[in-house]
């Protein structure tokens, strides 16, 4: 019962937030001054007829509340406008690029979490030694690295200098694959550097969260019991401490997604990975406003959904939340 109520509360909050994100998007890009279409229509080079046409096509002749209703209706039908540069419906464009971004995001997030937790547990087990300050120092430096610059440096070192990895795109251009496996291999090679960049930049915080959490659990009474039972230290650490220390990691994962989404724009730009981030970059250069606006909406919704999922996961994992 309480579990259902928790679920209901979280779902309502998700719905309300989604609605606000959509409305926020509308106010930001349709009501506030600086609207590109309005600027377009104001240009002195247009004939009055053209101005009237632009105004009508984009629905600017309606008062804002009516525009809002039209906007909501279009959104429900999956219509996000027409791209200025591609002359294609934005929703279709996003569909082409979103998948590639999800591949990159998943690879980076999973690697960051797994590696971050492993390193965090190892350094937590060595607390009170030189490892502590080394961990904190590395993490502070890791945080200070701009994602895009880390990508540029990796491009130069591993791509241009050592020729170890491809630095452009998702597949070798004009490649003919003899098997699906070969194609997958090629994509994996292209995926390596963008993923590595995102992992390097974001892993530090994960290590810190995991480390702090494990240290906290190690101080609990049941750890003493486990030791008294004569269990192997390794077993105590990995079976008893780590499993209990994973909860804060779930929260940190939800935070991570928001960062990785931002980082994806930078990394996709640097490595020309054909995803949403590259699309945003190109749209920024071409001032393709409908695409920029829609991309922001999609990013926001993705982050919201991941947060929602992590809330639910937390509830499944932590019996204390389940009962509260």
């Amino acid at each position: 019962m309480s579990r259902l109520r928790y679920l209901a509360r979280k779902t309502v909050w998700l719905a309300v937030t989604l609605y606000f994100v959509i409305t926020f998007n509308f106010v930001l890009f349709h009501v506030l001054p600086g609207n590109p279409v309005r600027l377009l229509a104001r240009s002195g080079h247009l004939t009055p007829q053209a101005v009237a046409d632009i105004t009508r096509v984009y629905g600017l002749n309606h008062p804002p509340p009516v525009q809002y209703v039209i906007y909501l209706k279009d959104l429900l039908h999956g219509q996000l406008g027409i791209s200025y540069t591609y002359r294609e419906p934005v929703s279709q464009l996003l569909g082409q690029y979103l998948g590639n971004t999800i591949v990159l995001l998943t690879a980076a997030t999973v690697l960051t979490i797994v590696l971050g937790v492993l390193i965090g547990v190892v350094v937590a087990n060595r607390r009170g030694t030189g490892w502590d300050s080394a961990t904190v120092t590395t993490s502070v430096i890791g945080w200070s690295l701009p994602t895009f610059w880390t990508g540029l440096i990796l491009t130069f070192l591993l791509g241009v200098w050592l020729h170890a990895f491809p630095i452009f795109g998702m597949q070798t251009p004009n490649a003919v694959y003899t098997s699906g496996l070969q194609r997958l291999e090629d994509i994996g090679a292209h995926l390596f550097l963008p993923t590595l960049t995102l992992v390097i930049v974001n892993i530090a915080q994960f290590v810190l969260v995991a480390r702090a959490s494990v240290i906290e659990v190690l101080a609990e009474d049941f750890m003493v019991t486990a030791t008294a039972k004569g269990l192997l230290p390794r077993r105590i650490l990995w079976r008893h401490a780590v499993r209990n220390a994973l909860l804060p990691v779930v929260t940190a994962s939800a935070l991570l997604i928001s960062l990785v989404v931002g980082g994806a724009i930078e990394v996709e730009t640097v490595f020309s990975w054909p995803g949403m981030g590259l699309l945003v970059y190109n749209s920024v250069l071409n001032r393709d406003y409908p695409v920029i606006e829609a991309a922001f909406l999609v990013f926001a919704v993705v982050v919201l959904l991941v947060n929602f999922a992590s809330d639910l996961l937390y509830q499944v994992l932590d019996p204390r939340v389940r009962e509260a």
Partner: protein, 314 residues
């Protein structure tokens, strides 16, 4: 801040419990400042941060005076373009044949200006919302914190990019956009602290003496929240500088005010990486890392000293 998670990772952005030691009733802000300074100079990381900060300020202020940069001094032959470092050009030349050492120095101040100004906006907004929510409680708290949570969950970089693309490329717009999106963590921290201060005896006492809300907030609450706000502010500056660099790299920087991010934008665009012109893309990045490190290290040191949850945990 582009990466809000870091403060949590580096040392609890939102303290679960308020400051452990109750400050003396009516404590003056000076004690806060002195405590912050003491914490900074006692911690080796804090000292490194201060030195880096002094270095960056020196570069930003004295650099352009000693080595003025002439943006119009382009090379008129292909031979002068993307030259490696030499006695004449200490850091080589850029894609137009201009001296990169001088360009590097002239761009230094932009990061600092944007970081400080944007953070000032975030800090004022966050503190105002945080104190209002924490002090007035009830529905004001609920509404303000819902708004804060809403902004907290929005991915900041896509939002900043969209806003900067819509409202134009000028330093002022960049500052406002970064400032207006960076306040939620500050608001949360300030709220938590205000909430506990409100219930302290010295506040109840002055209230019963007839002090107005505004006076209580100004004289008794704000000075006591100040050190925490300060620690958070220093961390936020680093994030704001990273955000500016990212915007500039993506081509959304102020075309007149060239920053290190803008230099990297041109380095990337002109294919300096493929040609191995490391003197073009390494120095600006190192510059950004050093500025951000300066603020992160000092902020981390202050946080370690002032945040009771972290004290003695290491």
């Amino acid at each position: 801040m582009v990466r809000p998670g870091v403060t949590a990772g580096l040392g609890g952005a939102v303290p679960a419990e308020p400051l452990g030691e109750a400050p003396v009733p009516g404590a003056r802000p000076e004690t806060g400042v002195r405590r912050v300074w003491g914490a900074l100079t006692a911690d080796p990381m804090g000292r490194v941060g201060l030195v880096l900060f002094a270095l960056v300020v020196l570069i930003a202020v004295a650099g352009p005076l000693l080595f003025p940069f002439n943006a119009a001094a382009v090379s008129n032959s292909a031979a002068g373009v993307l030259q490696p470092p030499s006695a004449r050009h200490w850091l080589g030349t850029d894609e137009l044949g201009r001296d990169l050492f001088r360009e590097f120095l002239s761009a230094a101040h932009v990061s600092l200006v944007v970081g400080l100004a944007a953070t000032a906006i975030s800090m004022v907004l966050g503190s105002a919302i945080g104190t209002a929510a924490g002090y007035y409680g009830c529905w004001a708290d609920t509404v303000l914190m819902r708004i804060t949570d809403f902004f907290l969950v929005l991915p900041q970089l896509p939002l900043v990019i969209a806003l900067a693309a819509f409202f134009g490329q000028s330093l002022v717009i960049i500052i406002v956009v970064i400032g207006l999106t960076g306040w939620p963590t500050t608001a949360r921290i300030v709220r938590a602290q205000t909430l506990s201060l409100r219930e302290r005896q010295f506040v109840t006492r002055v209230r019963s003496l007839g002090a107005s809300d505004l006076r209580i907030l100004r004289v008794h609450i704000l000075p006591n929240v100040m050190p925490l706000i300060f620690a958070n502010t220093v961390l936020v500056i680093g994030g704001a500088i990273l955000a500016e660099a990212t915007l500039a790299f993506l081509g959304l920087g102020d075309p007149v005010q060239v920053s290190w991010g803008t230099m990297l934008h041109f380095a990337f665009g002109s294919g300096a990486i493929g040609r191995g012109a490391w003197w073009f893309f390494v120095p600006p990045g190192v510059g950004i890392v050093v500025v951000v490190l300066a603020f992160t290290l000092t902020g981390h040191a202050i946080d370690q000293a002032l945040n009771p949850r972290l004290r003695g945990s290491r």
